[in-house]
Symmetry: C2
Subunit: 331 residues, 2 copies
């Protein structure tokens, strides 16, 4: 009898897991930046909008066809890593030794499974490596040489340093080095252009992923919030999926991504109230600048930043692809 | 007028910061373990109790004399790192390459400032390095070779591998290697004996610190929850200070330490309800075993685990030094 009841429950579970609604949502970001909007060149603005729109367009088709949110966020972030426009994968910024150290994380809101990598060199797509950590190791978080050795063992693409090099990041690095009269002022530039994605799929499952090259002129071995589960990246079907961008140290101290989820889960906040409370008040009061994208379990999408510029875009089953850059632009 | 008002406020602030109450609290742990209580040798049990009591005794004197909680937790964890009885500093477990990779974190509940290090080799006291990261770099989190280079630049003690070697950890490592027929089963042993401390000082400020050698036979570069701010370590004067111990991967996925604080702050839980909900339900349901110590802003102390054994101890301004090991032992 008990066995029958368990079987019946298992069947209901299976049915639920397979039930597809028509609803899905996707939000991506290409970083929040403290640069003045007037400084942004029209050509760069157009290129960023086109890159975000192309990713949204392709991943939207997959979600509409029933792709899982975990695949959607991995693909979106991998595509943004491959673009030299953003500080992740190709186009990553330089640390104080003139090297690229990358970090990324991915999280499945259904199972709370997660994978993350930090301080990895040469790996073309850190988000793909993060997912391999999640699915093919007993661990959640690998760093440094150990993460690189695992990437090699998995046969992931490893690139030479010139692949990651861009003229823009090299100029920023040289400027930051010149301006580095005081240690603390040296790393305040170039923390933007982290990339991330959050999605709700047609099975009602949430997922989040984030990837970055970190801060220009950062100390070797420095880890930011992007790869820290709970700080830059979090997803739980009980609340929402979040990917953050900004001055990572403040987001770690606030445990920002999990705190946004916790406000929704425990304080009954809606998504906007939760993000504004955590980023506007907790992170903002510490002095942290940046933003976050979010999708909740009802499929509501949101992008919010306390900076003037945040590269972002969204698409859902009922709204077409939209991109936005400036503070007051609607998403 | 405005200036005067600001000055008056500043003076009030100063007075508040300096106001000393008679209340202080300290809790330490030496790890939660999944071993059966009957396996524990009486000699080891006595040695662990004595080590915890000695640390509590000394740090209690400092707290009673007005030492800040941040100094208290750093000292307590440093002392436990120096003991070969625990899996942190001297006595750390071996990774799958037969090496010691250490991690630690410290957090100040008053300012939400934090410092953390992971995958560092040779540093005698990782918790001291974590505090240096917090106070002497623009970053929160350093890992690997970069963290070691910073430790050298700061003049911290660097030890050769034989310093960390203990007969017990080497035996566990050899056993784990022999048992490692399947990758996922290889790391389930030896995750206990992480150390941590939480304190409330006479100024009403909370702090937390955690340090560990991780898991026996872990992959090189693996990072657990101890150094992840929000997972194994968190402190906020708005709620409580927490240090966790156990199977770190599950604590990262639950963002356990911050989630305990969030339940107190947002859901109005008391300390026990918050810890039981997060460790008993969220972490426990994922399959994670372990525990946490906590002190809230009123000075209430708590140690809770879903394992049979957790090395722990506490002392406050009104209760003497007590240690406990088994599940039903009162603290």
């Amino acid at each position: 009898m008990a066995v029958k009841r368990r079987r019946a429950r298992a069947l209901i579970g299976l049915k639920r897991a397979r039930a597809r609604s028509a609803c899905w949502s996707l939000v991506v970001h290409g970083g929040a930046s403290t640069i003045r909007p007037s400084v942004l060149q029209p050509a760069r603005e157009a290129a960023v909008r086109a890159a975000l729109a192309a990713v949204l367009d392709d991943v939207a088709k997959a979600l509409a066809s029933g792709a899982p949110s975990l695949d959607a966020v991995e693909t979106a972030v991998r595509r943004l890593e491959d673009s030299p426009l953003f500080n992740a994968g190709k186009g990553a910024v330089f640390n104080s030794h003139g090297e690229h150290e990358l970090e990324a994380a991915i999280m499945d809101g259904r199972t709370l499974e997660a994978g993350a990598v930090a301080a990895v060199r040469g790996v073309k797509n850190p988000v793909v490596l993060a997912r391999r950590v999640m699915e093919r190791t007993p661990h959640v978080y690998l760093q440094g040489e150990g993460a690189l050795a695992f990437a090699r063992a998995e046969g992931l693409e490893i690139m030479t340093p010139d692949y990651f090099w861009t003229e823009e990041c090299w100029s920023s690095f040289k400027e930051a080095r010149l301006a580095a009269t005081a240690r603390r002022s040296a790393v305040d530039s170039g923390s933007g252009e982290t990339v991330g994605a959050v999605a709700l799929d047609r099975y009602g499952n949430l997922a989040a992923a984030t990837s970055t090259g970190g801060m220009t002129n950062k100390m070797p071995g420095r880890v930011g919030d992007s790869s820290v589960i709970g700080a830059g990246t979090y997803a739980s079907n009980a609340s929402c999926a979040v990917s953050c961008t900004g001055h990572g140290e403040y987001f770690i101290r606030a445990a920002a991504a999990r705190d946004i989820c916790a406000r929704i889960e425990y304080a009954g906040n809606d998504a906007r109230a939760a993000v504004q409370a955590v980023l506007g008040r907790r992170v903002g009061r510490l002095g942290g600048r940046g933003g976050a994208i979010l999708v909740d379990r009802a499929g509501h999408v949101l992008a919010w930043a306390n900076t003037d510029v945040m590269y972002r875009g969204a698409v859902t089953h009922k709204t077409p692809v939209r991109t936005a850059i400036y503070r007051r632009e609607p998403l």
